[in-house]
Symmetry: C2
Subunit: 155 residues, 2 copies
Amino acid sequence: MKNQEKSPQLELAASLPDFLCFAVYSTNLAFHRAYKPLFEELGLTYPQYATLVALNEEDDQTVSQLGEKLLLESSTLTPLLKRLEAAGYVTRQRDSRDERQVRINITAQGRAVFDQVFCGRDAIIDATGLDPEAYVRLQRDLIKLRDNLLAASRK
Amino acid sequence: MKNQEKSPQLELAASLPDFLCFAVYSTNLAFHRAYKPLFEELGLTYPQYATLVALNEEDDQTVSQLGEKLLLESSTLTPLLKRLEAAGYVTRQRDSRDERQVRINITAQGRAVFDQVFCGRDAIIDATGLDPEAYVRLQRDLIKLRDNLLAASRK
DNA sequence: AGATAATAAATCGTATACGATATATATGAC
DNA sequence: GTCATATATATCGTATACGATTTATTATCT
């Protein structure tokens, strides 16, 4: 293995745990698993829940607006929203002023489900094993990283 | 916005950016996009690349061993490995001592592809906008978080 | 040894995720 | 007003991702 001869300043080792991207990738998988018991009784998935969070914060958004906040394309959101609609958690209707757009609204049932998951969130926060300062710091650092990556891939 | 009136010890606000899970989720999407230009000319995906990294580090692993390192099930890995095999990057063959297991080996072509992406990784590291200390710290904090989450969901 | 249990992959169904394309509507040029 | 362009969503094909099940092989129990 010639991975030992690494550059002095930064770990350029080729081991999986040495990749920041893999740390993010696998932590994402771990979060999905942690949330699963909360979701499965409701028939929800993590992206569906994130969509409800976005709608709970601001209702009556278009597919594009949701896509910007969730970093998802219409090709992902359209079927997801149709499932949320079928479950009775959101409504979808064309905007009468601009028939190209579809307005998404959260229903009372959707808000109830949001609240239910939100109340169970303490268990997830416990499971992170992070004290409040570490939680907030990690969150802030990640968002900075994410925005750096997005800016770089847009240029 | 009533997110300002947050609890004193921990942000229990319901806004999307206040969720650590969403920070991880969206950073993962951002990493995928950052890597895309490196991968698409090779016809690779991120999980496929991660698999090559794991095999470059340790060859001749079983599907289960790879699954443990990559946090993936055989239902995900089997088709992925078949695609890597079709691309000529790995070989798959039953272990003669235990015919239940399938041994995965990286090919010379697979190592070449690994090297090629690995060389282009400087651009990704640049794109993170992190100095070496911040990079390593974030990586370590994430892996701790991930292992905490996994431990909690196993209990 | 032979029935049973355990294990490793693979298969199937469903839900993201995205690029490319299609469709419908709106906007702009003239 | 008409045509070209732009925009918003939807559709399609491919690749993860996982739970549940299936199949093949190995281990165990008696």
